[in-house]
């Protein structure tokens, strides 16, 4: 049985980690590896141009997988990120023409190297809708699976019993499910217990190893 993954999120802007403690993404990612991360999710909303250089630095210094989520405008940008060393790219929610881009990426790089972020919001009549696509979230994710998507990065709002049920249904698909960590250990553990393969965590106050210690009490298996 695979270990559940704890994946810290780093926001990158202009080649630097964004936030109160800026610095090169490679240095922060290596620190997180030492702190027990099972992978790194890098989010870069900026232009593609300067991205390849710092991606190569991350790839050359890290000994765990890392994933890049970015607003890829075309196949060439996505290709550049993977050739620079990203182990996987995530197409963000609401990206234009996600289906042809996903299909082309899967053809060239394979299922294991492409995922899609899905922002699922519970509607007033208790249906999960993928926003801003405006489609039923489960049907949308099933369609992505058919196109060869290898992983869903799922944000379900609001978090609670309904979102745990959505994760459970999503986990029935054959692809990997990485859940954006809801607030609170109980909800985070519920996401994993309901079938998420990993959690994307963005809490700088807690190391990945501390996350594993906190969630390990719920009977979940993590890598040592």
């Amino acid at each position: 049985m695979d270990a559940k993954r704890i994946i810290p999120v780093l926001h990158v802007s202009a080649g630097q980690v964004a936030g109160p403690d800026p610095g090169p993404p490679s240095a922060r990612a290596c620190q997180l590896e030492l702190e027990g991360a099972d992978g790194i999710l890098l989010r870069d909303a900026g232009p593609a141009g300067p991205r390849a250089e710092w991606l190569r630095e991350v790839a050359g210094s890290l000994s765990i997988p890392f994933v890049l989520e970015a607003p890829f405008r075309d196949f060439a940008e996505l290709e550049e990120a993977l050739e620079a060393g990203a182990d996987k790219v995530i197409l963000p929610a609401g990206l234009d023409a996600v289906e042809p881009l996903l299909a082309a990426a899967v053809r060239t790089f394979g299922r294991s190297r492409v995922g899609v972020a899905v922002n699922a919001v519970l509607s007033a009549d208790s249906h999960w809708l993928a926003e801003p696509e405006g489609r039923g979230a489960l049907a949308w994710m099933a369609g992505l699976e058919q196109l060869g998507c290898g992983e869903i990065l799922l944000r379900a709002t609001p978090a609670g019993p309904e979102s745990a049920a959505l994760i459970q249904q999503t986990a029935q698909l054959s692809l990997s499910v990485l859940a954006l960590c809801p607030e609170g250990d109980a909800l985070a553990a519920e996401a994993l217990l309901h079938g998420a393969d990993g959690l994307a965590v963005a809490d700088p106050a807690r190391t990945p190893r501390q996350w594993k210690q906190a969630l390990g009490t719920h009977g979940l298996t993590f890598r040592d």
Binding site: M1, D2, A3, R5, C30, E33, L34, D38, R56, A59, G60, S61, L62, S63, I64, P65, E79, L82, E83, A84, G85, A86, D87, K88, R107, T108, F109, G110, R111, S112, R113, G150, E151, S174, L175, S176, D197, G198, R223, D224
Partner: protein, 210 residues
């Protein structure tokens, strides 16, 4: 010096970085004439099999690798590289592999996450006098196909059913796990595997230090 076969779309940055941190020298070789004169040849990759095989055939590596292996040159296949070293794969039923490692690569599943992307515990099946044991450690995998375990398989993991993690036939070695992405344990195994293939790190070696 380690020769890293460059397969078009593949990034070698992580593998190069791992070799550097372990103190090994490496060079990229898109064609056989760019290879180092001695030392292990690593064929690493991920993604679809057919384009990778076409790339190897077009560059001359496809015919050169078996000759080099027959002459005693160590060859290490990682992930897709292992699949290419095997006899064949369900991913490309009409094609054949290089046959340096016996066995057929099969699709994972059914009824499992595809691709298998994550950390799995590895079990040792046979002890080899030269190669490191992987006893209960967690390694990172990213694949949809895997070699069926055989009687000489050194170690296995399970994703729905058991699959081969490490094979060795003479100087040809195949590893399904991404050692270069498997943390300190992966780096340590990579170092020991390269040492078993006759490659020695330089004085700047820092194996396991991260």
């Amino acid at each position: 010096m380690i020769t890293l076969i460059h397969l078009g779309h593949e990034s070698l940055s992580t593998l190069e970085g791992a070799a550097r941190r372990l103190g090994f020298e490496s060079c990229r070789a898109a064609r056989p004439d760019q290879a180092a004169p001695a030392g292990p040849i690593i064929l690493a990759g991920a993604g679809p099999l057919d384009p990778a095989c076409a790339q190897l055939k077009g560059s001359g590596w496809w015919s050169e690798l078996p000759q080099l292996a027959a002459g005693g040159r160590p060859v290490l296949g990682i992930n897709l590289g292992l699949h290419i070293l095997a006899e064949g794969s369900e991913e490309s039923p009409r094609g054949t592999g290089l046959g340096l490692i016996p066995g057929i690569v099969r699709r994972l599943g059914p009824g499992v996450k595809d691709p298998h992307w994550g950390w799995s515990p590895v079990r040792q099946r046979r002890v080899h006098p030269l190669f490191p044991e992987i006893r209960g450690g967690w390694l990172f995998f990213a694949h949809s196909h895997a070699l069926e375990p055989g009687s000489e398989t050194l170690s296995i993991a399970v994703h729905g059913r058991p699959f081969s993690v490490m094979e060795c036939r003479g100087r040809a070695v195949g590893i399904q796990a991404h050692l270069e992405k498997s943390g300190w344990l992966g780096l340590s195994l990579l170092e020991k595997t390269l040492a078993a293939l006759g490659e020695q790190p330089g004085p700047a070696s820092s194996a396991g230090s991260n």
